[in-house]
Subunit: 402 residues, 2 copies
């Protein structure tokens, strides 16, 4: 199940970047489950990783490799997260990087490994390495959609987004792909997202730009409050295009980058496990961004709000109860207003005088719903996107191991 | 659905306490939904209420009444929470207390109101008041089970617990009833629980005893992380029996009280909405009780852990991922051990060498499961009880408004 229509966008090539996939038999027979992405020399790369203390072996290895070498290859497998796999997991991640390094003539430290899938099973490293030549042979500058398909797990749709902007008379391209459908409450980045640009940006600025864009996109979505062990988002800049070296350039680039990441983040929510609703939670009038996010996520994580959304039931009491238990000190209920779409639900902490069940139900029947919560405490706002909790969510996560 | 067998215990009478019920037509036709509990003069009463900022009108009114008068009556309705009802809700709660006061010849402030049910609908105060004479006519010293049935909402079982102990040659009785099945993540107390004793205990000590017992019982359960607007737990001591006035008496009374509250709290989890599993999370080796609770609740709230429990799937990677995202600073994964029942799952942060899928699956197939998480950070422990996330949970909360 997924919300709304979706088609994979036409993604322009970025000079020097090629993508290849193979069927390694890790995820399922006949499924592309191995992706290699080639980066040109001198590419700078910023990365954001999960803050889960049990982070996966490839996250450790990718972090270590980034400290020593410029990356030349991203090596991604689905079907196995290589998480909770101890020393063997580290060894397996190293081995896969070595194998790709040997085949391509680069140092193993120039390969960044990423894994997604079942936690706690040993990585089938031989099958992975055996399939590397097939993936390398498939490398192509227009392999974006195939690569986006090759990283999916329980996702039902490949997710891509692209933006172009003019910088100093040159066209700058930003292309991103992502995967994620469950275990989605990123705390740095989504499950996996890989973003590329031909712009030339200093290492340190690239990291700042990625961090800000991630904070406003992947860090604002939740399916089920579960932060993955493998979350990672990278932004690679080949430097072959325009140089981003003025504040005006940087601010325009940042806006385009955020746009790409928000589109990918929203695509994850539209394709959330079992989702029948795409829900936007706008919290306004907060004293700080953190308290706006706290209220939004408390509502977004409430199983009772999520099942009411699934039922298209304008059970606003559940929204109100969730706001009331958010970790915000001295919340003055009498200042709170809640709108469901354009319908006023709550005013001054009680049911809005103008509210009718019919008006509320009409909004809830939509597949895309906006809930706007005004706290009356300040001028800060935050937006979080989430999905509903359906029978299919339970089936997807109870009927087989994912 | 509910876990395990349950029968309502034989509850001895407590001198001076009488319980009566009526069908007021608030919850459903033909359902007992109104409960009146009479307390003898000079009863002291301690109370713990929800910390939800959107607390219900009866919570406000009960708090106010406790400040001015000794309570003589508890007035409880199910089917309507009288929460999110603004000024009208306060007026309705006051009116119901006045009506009972007039019928019984006590001040309205000697009546404590409690409501549970749908949030945001006006309390049908006329129907409630019209049924008061019927409830008063039914007052009886052995009305415990009928009263426990009269406060239920989506619960499938009446919940009662009783304990007796000898103090200075006298038998002290503690009787408690409770309701709760969904919107259960109490932050002070459960949905509703009423506990009674014939012991004589000073006001201030009674409050301390209740607080400690609640912290180790109702504050250690969660069904769905949703804290209700109406949570309340009261402990009434008639003072007609033995006086609790030594440390030794108090410590034995505290132990018996905690036993009663834990039994009621566990009964709520066994009867949790859609529950097919009763799960005990024991976190050991924590530096503080708060961090032990943080880890236990993070695991207990994880939809992915809960659906794996429902599926009887020993998907230990999901437990590990939840532990890893708990808000505990500097968690050293390499010290963590996790047992599933008597089966070692995780050792030193990785899958235990001795672990087999068969052994794990055998434990997961049980309806009562203990997950023990050792953090290796200190000597503090905490236990939390929770349920699984099933199709029935979604049906109960999506298929009709509760």
């Amino acid at each position: 199940m997924a919300v709304g229509e979706a088609s994979f966008p036409a993604m322009p090539a970025i000079e020097g970047i090629r993508l290849g996939t193979a069927m390694a038999g890790i995820k399922a027979a006949g499924r592309r489950d191995l992706v290699v992405i080639e980066l040109p020399e001198a590419t700078t790369l910023a990365a954001a990783f999960t803050r889960n203390a049990f982070c996966a072996a490839p996250v450790h290895v990718a972090r270590r490799h980034l400290e020593t070498e410029k990356p030349r290859y991203l090596l991604i497998n689905t079907g196995n997260a290589n998480a909770g796999t101890g020393e063997q997991g580290m060894h397996d991640a190293d081995k896969s990087c070595q194998a790709l390094g040997e085949l391509t003539g680069v140092a193993a430290q120039s390969v960044l490994p990423f894994s997604t899938g079942v936690i706690g099973e040993p990585l089938p490293v031989k099958r992975l390495c055996d399939a590397l030549p097939e993936a390398l042979a498939a490398l192509s500058a227009d392999g974006w959609q195939t690569a986006a398909e090759g990283i999916l797990t329980t996702d039902t749709r490949a997710k891509g987004a692209t933006a172009r902007l003019e910088i100093g008379g040159q066209t700058v391209t930003i292309n991103g792909i992502a995967k994620g459908s469950g275990m989605i409450k990123p705390d740095m980045a989504t499950m996996l997202s890989f973003v590329f640009t031909d712009a030339a940006i200093d290492d340190a600025r690239l990291q700042v730009l990625l961090r800000h864009a991630v904070d406003d996109s992947f860090n604002c979505i939740t399916v089920d409050s579960d932060t993955s062990t493998n979350d990672a988002c990278t932004l690679a800049a080949t430097g072959r295009g325009a140089r981003i070296d003025t504040d005006e350039h940087e601010s325009r680039f940042a806006a385009a980058l955020t746009e790409v990441l928000v589109e990918l983040a929203q695509a994850i929510i539209r394709d959330a496990e079992g989702a029948t609703k795409f829900v936007t939670l706008e919290v306004e009038g907060a004293a700080t961004r953190q308290e706006a996010l706290d209220v939004a996520f408390t509502v977004a994580h409430s199983p009772l709000v999520k099942t009411a959304l699934y039922a298209s039931d304008a059970n606003w009491g559940r929204i109100l109860a969730a706001v009331g238990r958010a970790p915000v000190p001295d919340l003055d209920v009498s200042r709170i207003a809640i709108d469901l779409g354009e319908v006023a639900l709550v005013e001054r902490g009680g049911r809005a005088a103008s509210y009718t069940e019919e008006a509320g139900s009409a909004v809830m029947a939509e597949s895309e719903i906006t809930i706007r919560i005004h706290l009356g405490r300040g001028d800060t706002a935050a937006t979080v996107w989430t999905s509903d909790l359906s029978h299919d969510y339970v089936s997807i996560n109870a009927d087989y191991r994912s």
